[in-house]
């Protein structure tokens, strides 16, 4: 038994050179591990072969283990194997690849995944997809797990099944120039690696078979690791994307746009989120937040906080109250994760913005004249610290202005601090505003992202932009009315008068009917004055608010139930309707399309 592992010293190198194989020392690209003894011309003296074999294996397995994804792992294997150990390496993997410890049936297809060879002629046409026969020699061999030479019993049939007759029928038959090593992960057969030596090189020895076995084992474990890692990254990414809004609402009086960019490295899951929540009175809550850290936990915490903010927002609490309760809830979640969050409430009728901040970066307000202002909002403590003390700041939000909420990934980088980043953001926005007045919202988002949209990112980035359009007070009417028996009738008259003024005479009859039903309902439960609000935007919206927390449900709409019957009517006559429970009671609303001659 020869102690030489690799290329024969006398004939092999010449043959290899003739095949155009570069020696590892001269390879221009990153080289594989130190080649097998005897392969290097400048070897001062032949080392003890077993030691060299171990040294080779040590370097090769370390390279293979370094790979973090599938492609990297397999290319490290091939680079380690060719040309130092073999002239050709072919890796076949089952498709789909089994992951982790899941018990799945053995897939029916093996696909050629990676090839590396010293000469393109060595294997002209290995099949791309192989369907191993159930119980056939290939399936049996792969399940068995041990590597074999090409001249082992049944090996010829196995190799033929894998590579096709054309490649095995070469002369001379591969025999001990071929090793087939199954790839066995922790729980599954993953595929195989075929190693071939060209005609000019010595055949594989028994020790070489052990080396191949080692390479295959490390590769299989590397594949296992890569698959688990990829699955974790993909689960976290999916988790995070699922927890962001799939689309933005289009409430009247404001236009919305958003961007979310994950961090460049796949496993870097972030906890950034944004949200927009339409509220009664055509107001809309704009939210941005960032859970500290990058992990699945960050994404999971983010999802919980986002849901909490939505629930609190829909109660129509003031912004500082929303953050206060969010902070309390974060503590109850028992997490050691902190988060920053900014909550802004836009009222398009009053053209006011109420902003409260929990340690988040200040928003930028781009005014209609193109100047950008970094809003000075008291920063407040982050969520989860339990500090409390959030404040609401009221800001004039003129029509045509744009509010930008963003996370630190947009303004923070290795090269500059946050303040510089915020100033740069403002400069980018000013430039965009100078080119068009006002710039399109999507253009503005792209300008805000700047080079981040294409380059490497250390952190994820969330961006929410709101263009304020405002709603003219003439298109709104609002009354308080003490709950009395005659209130429904009064509401009818107010509705008639207002719709007539708006030129909506054709809607008067149905609207009066619905308003009086809903108001009658509200009066039955209210103890304080109810509210009636009529809003004419691209739809006619009526809102009736009262201080009773009892929210009517359609399932109560029995004929015996007066209130339920009213809602049944609203359900029949209106385009959409709903009931929102607020901290101070509830609002029942319904909408109707405008007649064609009024709708613009």
């Amino acid at each position: 038994m020869t102690k030489r592992l690799g290329t024969g010293k006398r004939t092999g190198r010449k043959a290899a050179g003739a095949q155009g194989r570069a020696t590892p020392a001269r390879r221009p690209t990153r080289s594989g591990p130190a080649s097998v003894p005897g392969d290097r011309a400048d070897e001062p003296r032949p080392a003890e072969p077993q030691t060299d074999r171990l040294r080779y294996l040590d370097a090769a397995t370390r390279s293979i283990a370094r790979g973090m994804d599938l492609d990297e792992t397999l290319s490290e294997l091939c680079r380690a194997a060719v040309p130092a150990f073999a002239d050709t390496a072919l890796v076949h993997l089952y498709d789909p690849l089994p992951v982790g410890d899941e018990t799945t049936p053995v897939p029916g297809v093996l696909r050629l995944h990676t090839t590396r060879q010293t000469s393109p002629q060595a294997l002209p046409s290995a099949a791309e997809a192989v369907h191993p026969a159930v119980g056939g020699p290939l399936a049996t061999r792969l399940r068995d797990g041990r590597p074999v030479f090409g001249d082992a019993p049944n090996a010829a049939a196995t190799v033929t099944e894998l590579l096709g007759p054309a490649n095995v029928g070469t002369t001379p038959p591969p025999g001990r120039r071929l090793i087939l090593a199954p790839l066995h992960g922790r729980s599954h057969v993953l595929g195989s690696v075929v190693l071939l030596r060209g005609a000019g090189r010595p055949v594989f020895t028994d020790d070489d078979l052990l080396v191949a076995s080692q390479l295959a084992t490390h590769t299989a474990l590397g594949i296992d690791k890569a698959m688990l890692y990829a699955r974790e990254a993909s689960v976290a990414d999916t988790l995070q994307r699922t927890m962001l809004p799939p689309s933005l609402p289009e409430p009247p009086g404001v236009r919305l746009a958003s961007r979310y960019l994950p961090a460049s490295r796949t496993a870097q899951v972030g906890g950034d989120w944004y949200d927009t929540i339409p509220l009664p009175g055509n107001r809309v809550a704009l939210v941005i937040g960032d859970v500290m850290g990058h992990s699945m936990t960050s994404a999971a915490i983010m999802g919980q906080l986002r849901t909490t903010v939505q629930t609190l927002a829909l109660l129509d609490l003031p912004p500082d109250e929303v953050l206060h309760h969010l902070d309390e809830q974060a503590e109850r979640l028992g997490t050691e994760h902190t988060a920053t969050c900014l909550y802004a409430l836009y009222d398009p009728v009053l053209q006011r913005l109420l902003v409260s901040n929990a340690g988040h970066l200040p928003p930028v307000l781009l005014r209609p004249d193109g100047t950008g202002e970094i809003l000075s909002v008291p920063p407040g403590p982050p969520i989860g610290v339990g500090g409390g003390g959030f404040e609401s700041t009221e800001i004039h939000a003129p029509a045509g202005a744009t509010l930008l909420l963003y996370t630190d990934g947009l303004v923070e980088s290795r090269d500059s601090d946050v303040l510089t980043g915020v100033e740069n953001l403002r400069a980018r926005l000013r430039t965009a505003a100078a080119q068009a007045a006002p710039p399109a919202l999507e253009t503005l988002c792209d300008a805000a992202l700047g080079a981040l949209g294409t380059g490497d990112r250390d952190d994820d980035v969330a961006l929410l932009a709101a263009r304020f359009e405002g709603i003219l007070p003439e298109t709104v009417a609002y009354w308080y009315m003490a709950p009395r028996p005659q209130t429904a009738g009064q509401a009818r008259r107010l509705t008639r008068r207002t719709l007539h003024r708006w030129g909506l005479d054709s809607l008067i009859e149905t609207t009066e009917l619905m308003v009086s039903e809903v108001v009658a309902n509200a009066v039955r439960f209210a103890s304080r004055p109810i509210t009636l609000r009529l809003l004419c935007t691209d739809v006619l919206r009526c809102e009736v608010g009262d201080d009773s927390p009892v929210v009517p449900r359609m399932r109560h709409a029995r004929l015996s139930d007066e209130g339920g019957r009213g809602l049944f009517l609203v359900d029949q006559l209106s385009e959409r309707w709903g009931a929102t429970r607020l901290s101070t009671g509830k609002v029942v609303w319904f909408e109707q399309s405008l007649p064609d001659d009024v709708a613009h």
Binding site: V476, R497, P529
Partner: protein, 227 residues
């Protein structure tokens, strides 16, 4: 049982002004910031100016900061007396409109036979001030205005349209109690108090403060009947 005070309608009322003046004392200049663009109010005062000879006496009931009404009337050459319940507002108004006279007083003090006699006026303006009274006090207050006007005198009134009585609402970070009528009932109350309504207008107003809802404002231009 009968006495002059009874005629004014205040006899059985226990006047409760707790917190009402304090809210405005605390407000100061923020009041004018929260309610900019008083076009409706300016137009109503313009009607008074147009209708009266220079030198006529005008009373601004609930004069607030003096801006815009007392200033507008004074600059047009009317002799203006402003009355407000809030000391803070009176102090601001004196600074804002030196040409007018301002008194800290309750409208109930002006009733016939009441402690404060300011004489008779050719015009009274009450912009969003009577809504600070409980409903039961609004008809007596209107009778008081009737009493303060010369026969045929002009009365400009604005109210927020609502069907509430002494109802507590948030107000620029403070809280006040307000009352109101829906339009038809308001007209009835005003006419019953001895006024002829010569013009009415209403529109939605959006205050510049996030804690106040947009409101429907009603402006009535009235003339004192002889009765």
């Amino acid at each position: 049982m009968s006495s002059p005070a009874d005629d004014s309608g205040y006899a059985h009322l226990r006047l409760d002004r707790a917190g009402q003046a304090a809210a405005f004392d605390a407000l100061g200049d923020r009041y004018d910031e929260a309610f900019p663009h008083k076009e409706g109010q300016v137009a109503a005062a313009e009607w008074l100016i147009r209708s009266l000879p220079t030198g006529s006496r005008a009373l601004d009931l609930g004069s607030g900061t003096g801006i815009p009404t007392a200033l507008q009337l004074a600059e047009a050459g009317l002799k203006v007396v402003g009355v407000d319940l809030s000391d803070g507002m009176v102090a601001l108004a004196r600074r804002n409109v030196p040409a007018a006279e301002f008194r800290q007083a309750d409208i109930a003090d002006l009733r016939p036979g009441g402690p404060l006699d300011l004489g008779r006026f050719e015009a009274v303006a009450a912009f969003f001030s009577l809504l600070m009274l409980p409903r039961a006090e609004i008809p007596p207050a209107l009778r008081t205005i009737h009493h303060l006007l010369v026969p045929g005198g002009l009365f400009a009134l604005s109210m927020v349209e609502a069907d509430v009585d002494d109802f507590s609402i948030p107000f620029v970070g403070e809280s006040i109690r307000v009352s109101g009528y829906l339009r038809d009932e308001l007209r009835e109350v005003v006419e019953t108090a001895g006024f002829e309504i010569v013009d009415e207008s209403s529109f939605t107003y959006a205050p510049a403060s996030a804690d106040i809802q947009p409101e429907v404002q009603i402006f009535l231009r009235c003339r004192r009947r002889h009765a």
